[in-house]
Each structure stands twice: as C-alpha cells, then as structure tokens.
Symmetry: C2
Subunit: 376 residues, 2 copies
C-alpha cells in the first residue's frame, strides 16, 4: 500500500465540494471540513480523510440525517442536554461545545451532554475550541462497542476517547486518547500491513488474547465476540480495570447524563447510530487570575519536557506538543493519504457526481486498492 | 509476615484515642478515623491502618500541623480555592468536598481546588460523599513524585489517583484508581514478600524496566531516579502516554487550578508536604430527572455484569462492587492487620503514651517485625 501527498488547500477544496454536494450549507461544510482536516494536520490520519468513507456510507445508509438540527431539550445556566436528531456529529458537537463555552463565560462552568448524534471525528477538536477561548475544555464520546470489559469476552464499551485541553505556553496542553489500549484504526493498519498485532491489544471471540488482526476485525464486524482491551490490558495486574473505568467515565458524561444510547447498543439501529457525547468548559478565572494559572501550568509542562530522559530516549513530550509539530510539517510538506483511501474518495466522487480528476490531478488509482469492510 | 484480625470497633476505639491524643477534637477525630477505616473496610489495606505511621511521622516531623484550619481564599457560586495551611488532609478534604456538594445543590456544580494540604487517604471516600447525597462526585490528589513520564527516568508526577462516584442501584458506581500502573503500596508488598515485581510496573534509576523491588524503593526514597510506570507501561505501543495524561489531569484539578505545589516538588519541604487536591460535585438534576438517570445508569451497569465472561473468568465486576462485598466481609469477619503494622501501632502508642495492650488484648508483637523506611 502506497501513499500520496496533497496540500491542505487541495483537500480543503475537495472536502468543501463534497459536503456542499451532500446538502450542507457553506458554514456547515466549513465546520465539518475543519474538524476532518484538523485530524490530518495533527497527524491523526485515522480520523481525517481516511474517515470520509464513514460519513459517505452513513449518509447513504440513512444513519446520518444531513438536514437534522440539534435541539436543546433541557437547560440550566450551567448545563444543557442536546438531542442531535441523528444529524452530522461534527455540526452537533460544535454547536454543543459553543453552548458549553458560552455558559462557562457567563456562569463559570458549562456542561453539555448530547444524545442521538453520530461520529464526531477527533475529541481533541472540541476540547481545543475551549482552550482557544482561554478555558479548560473537555470532550468525550461513546461509540460502537469495541472495548471488552475486564474478564469479559463481549465488547460493551466504545473506544470512548476523552480529550482535555488547557491554555499554556508555548502551546496548549491537549490530551486526546481512547480509553482502549489502541483504537480500531490501529488494528486496521496492521491488517492492511498483514502483520501480527502487538501483544496486549486484542481479544478473540472467546475472550483470549489474540494477535490475529483479520480474525479480530471480522469478529468485531460480525459481532461474534472479542474486541480491543481497555488501557492496561486484560489483567488486573497491569490495571485493566482502570482503562475500563475511564471508559465508564466517558459513558457517564455522554450516554448516561443525556439518557441516550449506551455503547453496547450504539450502531445496532437501522436509521441511527445513537452515538452520545459530553462537553465541559471551565473558566479558570473562577479559581483566580487566569494568567497566573496559565504561567504556573506552563512552568510545570516545561519542567516535564526538561526532566532527565530514560537511557536511549531523546525527548519527553507533553500532551499537545506532537500535534503542533505535525501541523507545522503537514502545512509545509503536505498531508499523506493512502492509496486505499484514494479509492474510497474516487468512489465517493462517483456517488456525488463530482470529477475526481479535477481535484487530484495526475493521480492514478491503484488497481489493488481494497475497501475496508466495516460497519458504518 | 503474619496477619491478625480485629473487629471494626476495636480499631475504631484505638483510632479515636490516637487522634484525640494528637490534639484533634471529637468531631475531627471521628472524621479522620472514618476515612482511614473506610479504606480497610473497602479492602484497600494499603490506605487504612497501614498508613497510620505516615500520619504519626508527619505530625512528629512537623509537615502536618494538627491545629491548622482550612481557609477559603477564592470563591464563586460554582467554585472555591482552599488553602489547607498544612493541616490534616482528611479534615481539609471533608471540608472541601462539603463545600463542593453545597455548591452543587445550590448552583448545580461545585468545583473546589485545594493547596497546602497533606495525604488525604482514599480518593474514593470524598467522591462517595457526593454520591451519598445523590450527586456525581470526583476527587483527586497529587502527591510525592513517583510516576516517571513516558521516555523519562525521573519521577515527576505522583501516583495521582482519580475517583469518581455516581448514584446507582443496587450500589453506587465508585471508580478509584491511581494513574500509575500500581501504587507504591504494591511495591512495598512485594518487597516485604521478597518477590520480584511483575513486569511492566517499575523503572530503575536509568529509566530501564526493573523487577527489583528493594532497588526501586530505595532509589525512590533517596530520589536517585526511577519509579513507577504510568498506567499503560513505559511504551507508547501499550498506551504509556495515556496513563501519563490521566496523571496530568489529576495535577490540573489539584495543583494547577489551586496554584499549589506540583508533584515534582511535593514532599521536598521541611515544614509541609504541599499536597494538593481537587473535588467536583455535579447535581444530575441539571440534566433531567435524577431518578431516570440513575435507572438508566443502573441498567447499563447490570448489562455489564451480566455480559458474557471470558473463558476461565467467573465474574465481571462494575466499579464499586468489590468495595461493597469487602465491607460486608470485614464487618462480619474483622479487618486484617499485618504484624509489621502492629509494630508501628505499638510504636505510636509509646509516642502518645497510650496503653497498646488495652486495645489489642492478647496480641504478642512479632520479634522480626520491620518498619518500612519511607519519606513521611
């Protein structure tokens, strides 16, 4: 499998036309493409152009309703519950995080829980919306069940990422991680490379550890059992119950407080996924001088980066640093898209009657490109 | 090393007299002993009677100031910053969580960040204070540096536990875990048993994986380098950066928002530890009918417990279940205290001029009991 590089503007132009063709207006299209391309700029390739197929298939199948509008169904000065009515996850989530930010600016804290949404892309995008406004931000989402609880053999939680962002110098703290040991995207990568999975990642249909990527993935798609381990693996001795617990916290702020669909039932419906999100924004000014808090935090982050390295290690990162480095690189050197994804984009162009070659000039589709068999 | 069992009332009587002798009043003594003995009842032996020596030594050395009173130094309707003035961690924390609960009841959410406190025992105690009142509760604390950040060799974060509790039937959800793969207490247990550490737990002074408990512990005490890995180990492939990130979230809500002492500097002072905490209480009623939310959550917890077990596994737990089972057992069958801890309690009685034998009738101190060499 090969890669091709495209400039940010080529991909932006393409995405914009795609979402306009799906029926989204100018503003909506810009919002969706910004979430998608930020993932690619941050080096989180699994959640950028690679995921376009998921939105394509979701709209085609009818689990994403492009014309739906999010509705506030419960509200207080510090909170809201939003019903997404199965619209596009990115649009619902930007709306919801804006509401959390507005509440944090007027009341100090805003907590918003969302039900009946769809995949929202990278959680970090929404957490960063808050830190861009000088606030502490949190975003999380549940999703189709893929995490097997400690001692179980059936996936009952999603990859359930939690992201937290906080203003700092020279760049914000941005933590954005699934609560599984890895995401499904990583398993798909190993599958495409035809390599065995690293130990401590996945379980077969009987709940036993497995390094067989095609088997694990096909079991997940067919819901035969097995899945990905929580952060900490599948044994208590390495903290499996902790990763499982963080997955539960994600569920709490998304599907529980909104009274939405829990991960064990997400993506089992014909006309919706039922995916739920949680968003929190906190104004640091409710704890003191925000500039002093920011300085205090920045000093600690600097101390971490400057602390002694393990033998053989070159650098200690703080969270959000890699994203800043990746963005600089991608804007200068282009965004890598793999040949399989290019085939998916060609298929999308056919569906929407867009001219693939007018966007991706000179690119030849690879004959051996395969579509990944997934649930969208 | 052997064990002896005592009834709850024997230990309660002993603890009460100890804290009265240290100068705490009736109410204060009851508060401290309840936090301590709840750890033993919950089966978290490392944080119960075993930790008495830490409070004894802290008061003796002057890092815990028994007469100090917590002071609110910043406050809004949804938040507060408290300076603990280096008092007893349990008293400061009960005071702080009560304030968060009060704010959650009037404003929907209460967030309290605390600086200049001391070890507060189990984080879960304070989270549960909120769930006992029908609220979602969160508690976290930083502590003496023991977690080595990914690619580092010097401990820069504490074991940084995060606890979250939420009302549910038949018992509340109660998640309470360090963000390191294990706590120092577990290393101490392996040291006492003279067994090698499990793989994936600890690092030597050069940042290389080590299973040598005495070496790792003596390096920690002497601050020569090394320590415990974050949840997820010391490699990105198993999610080391995730555990390190959760440790950072703990730091954010404790030492950063309160502008207190970060873990890398905690316990390096003569007259204080500088330990910081964070407490959050959220009223589920700001999201809808609390009873419906509770029912929805309880159903999901039940589905998790009833989901198919891995081959060879007998039971899937939800967080907080083991604590309920342990409490029932300890109240019926007594609380186990090891012989080394008994020697520490005898030493404490000598210091406070209390009659050890009047509490622990018929117990013979073991001649080979050793005190653990630690930093208190």
């Amino acid at each position: 499998m090969g890669y091709v590089k495209w400039s940010y503007s080529v991909l932006e132009h393409f995405c914009h036309d795609v979402f306009r063709a799906f029926g989204f207006d100018e503003t909506q299209s810009k919002e969706i493409e910004d979430v998608l391309l930020t993932a690619d700029l941050f080096g989180i390739e699994s959640h950028g152009m690679q995921r376009m197929v998921r939105y394509h298939k979701g709209i085609e199948k009818g689990t994403i309703h492009p014309l739906a509008k999010p509705e506030v169904v419960f509200e207080t000065p510090v909170s809201a519950v939003i019903d997404g009515h199965n619209g596009m996850g990115q649009l619902i989530s930007i709306y919801a995080m804006k509401k959390a930010i507005e509440k944090a600016k007027t009341s100090g804290i805003g907590m918003v829980s969302v039900r009946n949404s769809n995949h929202f892309g990278i959680a970090g995008y929404y957490a960063k919306m808050a830190s861009d406004e000088g606030l502490l931000g949190m975003a999380c989402t549940n999703s189709e069940a893929i995490m097997v609880p400690t001692f179980g053999k059936k996936a009952m939680l999603g990859s359930n990422p939690i992201a937290v962002a906080m203003p700092a110098e020279p760049y914000p703290f941005l933590f954005d991680c699934s609560t599984t040991v890895v995401t499904r995207g990583k398993l798909e990568m190993y599958n495409k490379m035809e390599k065995p999975l690293p130990e401590g990642w996945a379980l077969d249909k009987d709940g036993k550890e497995s390094t067989d990527a095609p088997d694990v993935l096909s079991n997940i798609v067919a819901k035969r059992g097995g899945g990905i381990m929580p952060l900490g693996g599948n044994k208590e001795v390495n903290g499996s119950h902790k990763g499982y617990g963080y997955g539960m916290l994600c569920e709490l702020f998304s599907s529980i407080l909104s009274q939405g669909v829990t991960s064990d039932k997400c993506c089992t419906f014909k006309d919706k996924t039922g995916i739920c999100h949680g968003f929190i924004a906190v104004n640091p000014a409710i704890f003191g001088n925000p500039e002093e808090i920011k300085r205090h935090f920045s000093e600690y982050l600097e101390a971490l980066r400057e602390s002694p390295k393990a033998d053989g290690a070159e650098r200690i990162y703080t969270h959000g640093e890699k994203e800043v480095l990746a963005k600089k690189d991608r804007l200068e050197n282009g965004i890598q898209v793999n040949d399989n994804t290019m085939a998916e984009l060609a298929n999308l162009c056919e569906y929407l009657k867009l001219d693939f070659n007018s966007y991706f000039k000179g690119y030849q589709l690879q004959k051996d490109s395969k579509f990944f068999e997934g649930n969208y």
